[in-house]
């Protein structure tokens, strides 16, 4: 994998994906006043007749989407990750339970969101949606992968939740490599036999930095972009658990129920491979820059590297 280049935020990838999806007349876009932020605004500009604005009313938006899905449409609805949670029961009872295929996107997920403070920093969305039977849950790491994975949702047979991030992160893919991504299949960005770092979202680039640092100290790490938390690529986890001394998960999300939780659940059945979880440890964020918050929460590349080193001893 070549060195990361500068890219956009994953929410920009969502916006670009909607434009590509517009070729399918079944695709409709739903907004709850935050289209400029989630980037569905680009679709709205070109296809106002297929964009439904529902105001600041997320519960209604979720059920309007499911009504449209029941009538042959493929709805993509978005708002901030935290505000999708206001419609959680609606997603559970009104979308997933009847098996209606609605694609929900929550932008501005995680403490990386920054200065807006804790009310806007969803650290539990991935855990919540993972508990709903039949939901696909994704958290891509850059704009190109977010675009590719969102485009793949067009013919996906399940409802989904995708978290995107507010801020730019380094690109992990280029126009060519992102084509090899598949929903439900972890993407190995770097190979190393000592330890494996399984990460998602903004933590993927931190994980790559951690791996470079570890390499300078003689520890070789595999880095996985686990963009899909559900269904989890358990085959890949088993393979890594078999060859490495231990696994480290890295996420901008609570350690309860997110990527770390998902991997821990799987490992508890499949074997005794040691696991360390880097994530937000059962606490709320506050206002600050993304970097300050990541340091305060203990989710920087240094924290990942420390966890990896602790598995080597």
């Amino acid at each position: 994998m070549s060195a990361p280049s500068t890219g956009g935020a994953s929410r920009d990838g969502y916006g670009s994906a909607l434009l590509r999806l517009s070729r399918d007349p079944r695709v409709v876009v739903l907004e709850a006043d935050l289209g400029k932020s989630t980037k569905s605004c680009h679709f709205r500009e070109l296809y106002p007749e297929r964009t439904i604005s529902l105001g600041i009313a997320e519960q209604n938006m979720v059920l309007v989407a499911s009504g449209m899905a029941s009538s042959g449409k493929v709805p993509f609805a978005s708002t901030f990750a935290i505000f999708t949670e206001r419609g959680f029961e609606q997603v559970r009872n009104g979308v997933a339970r009847p098996g209606l295929i609605v694609h929900l996107c929550g932008s501005h997920g995680g403490v990386h969101t920054g200065t807006d403070g804790s009310s806007a920093q969803s650290i539990e969305d991935l855990a919540l949606y993972r508990t709903i039977p039949g939901m696909t849950v994704m958290h891509p790491c850059d704009d190109l992968s977010a675009e590719e994975l969102t485009v793949q949702l067009l013919n996906h047979g399940n409802p989904s939740y995708t978290r995107t991030a507010r801020n730019k992160t380094p690109r992990m893919y280029n126009q060519k490599t992102c084509k090899s991504l598949k929903i439900g299949k972890g993407s190995v960005l770097r190979e190393g036999g000592d330890v494996a770092i399984i990460s998602c979202g903004v933590m993927v680039s931190e994980s790559m930095k951690a791996a470079e640092y570890l390499s300078s100290k003689g520890i070789e790490a595999t880095v996985v972009d686990m963009h899909t938390l559900k269904p989890l690529d358990t085959e890949l986890i088993d393979e890594l658990a078999g060859k490495c001394k231990g696994l480290v998960t890295a996420e901008d999300h609570s350690v309860i129920g997110g990527l770390g939780g998902a991997v821990a659940e799987h490992l508890s059945y499949s074997g005794g491979t040691p696991l360390r979880m880097v994530g937000v440890s059962d606490r709320f964020g506050e206002s600050g820059t993304p970097q300050e918050l990541m340091e305060s929460m203990g989710i920087t590349y240094g924290d990942i590297a420390n966890s990896c080193e602790s598995l080597m001893s």
Binding site: Q59, V64, A65, R97
Partner: protein, 269 residues
């Protein structure tokens, strides 16, 4: 069907309702009996559907948002030929196509999975918006309970339907004045629903929900109005048709025992 035939069909459905709930040992007779006259008129005279092709894209939709009144829905679905007597009588039993609350995933002819109140009008709005995008003239009917409209989401949908000028969205409020715990006026009175909906931009008509003449005429009025969303406030009696259940909060969610079933069927004979 003429009004006499509709009234007889409603009486038959009332018998199904009490038998189903008695057999299950659980269910909601009160709100099923208050709603059934409207459902009978809707299915018999208004709703466009095809029993041989339940997923027909251009069928009208009926969204039963007060999903606990499922026995009312199953009774009329049985009468129009969607579900068998055996299926109907397996209500609430393990593996039954007739789940406790109406569920589109389980029952042919059901257009919405209900059970959590306040969601149906939003779903109906989505159906209506999709129909308009497809230039289809299918009508969307949604029934809610009066206790149900205490849910905030209902008013989100009311506001959005007006904003989007969805003319083929037809709401029926089953104003039976009783909810789970007690009378609506005790729990949290919802007040002048017609005035509230009018102030949100809806065209509203109030009727006696047990007068077939008024029900039939209101359904006709509602379906002909395709310029703005319409609402029928149907003033009804919870438990209508069975004297000891009428206006009795304790029969919101209680099954009749053997003796009560016998008395019910006698009154409905």
């Amino acid at each position: 069907m003429d009004n006499i035939q509709l009234e007889e069909l409603a009486r038959q459905c009332r018998r199904h309702i009490v038998r189903m709930i008695h057999s299950a040992g659980a269910g909601h007779p009160g709100g099923s009996l208050s709603a059934i006259d409207i459902l009978v008129a809707l299915y018999a005279n208004k709703l466009r559907f095809d029993v041989e092709n339940p997923d027909w894209e251009d069928r009208d939709r009926f969204v039963m948002s007060k999903g606990h009144a499922s026995p009312a829905v199953y009774s009329i679905l049985h009468e129009v030929g969607f579900i068998s007597e055996a299926d109907m009588m397996s209500f609430r039993k393990m593996g039954s196509v007739c789940q406790g609350h109406v569920d589109m995933k389980w029952t042919q002819g059901v257009d919405f999975s209900a059970g959590s109140l306040g969601m149906g009008l939003s779903f109906g709005l989505g159906c209506a918006l999709a129909a308009r995008m497809d230039s289809s003239d299918r009508d969307i009917w949604v029934m809610v309970g009066d206790g149900e409209i205490q849910e905030g989401q209902f008013w989100e949908a009311v506001m959005a339907a007006d904003f989007h000028s969805v003319g083929r969205l037809n709401l029926i409020v089953d104003r039976n004045r009783i909810q789970n715990d007690d009378f609506v006026e005790v729990q949290m009175e919802v007040g002048d629903v017609a005035k509230k909906l009018s102030s949100f931009g809806w065209d509203v008509r109030e009727i006696d929900g047990h007068s077939m003449e008024e029900v039939v005429s209101a359904l006709e009025w509602s379906s002909k109005n395709i310029t703005s969303p319409t609402a029928i406030i149907a003033h009804t009696i919870k438990g209508k048709g069975i004297s000891f259940m009428e206006n009795n909060p304790s029969f919101h969610g209680k099954a009749p025992n053997d003796e009560e079933l016998r008395m019910s069927l006698e009154e409905l004979s």
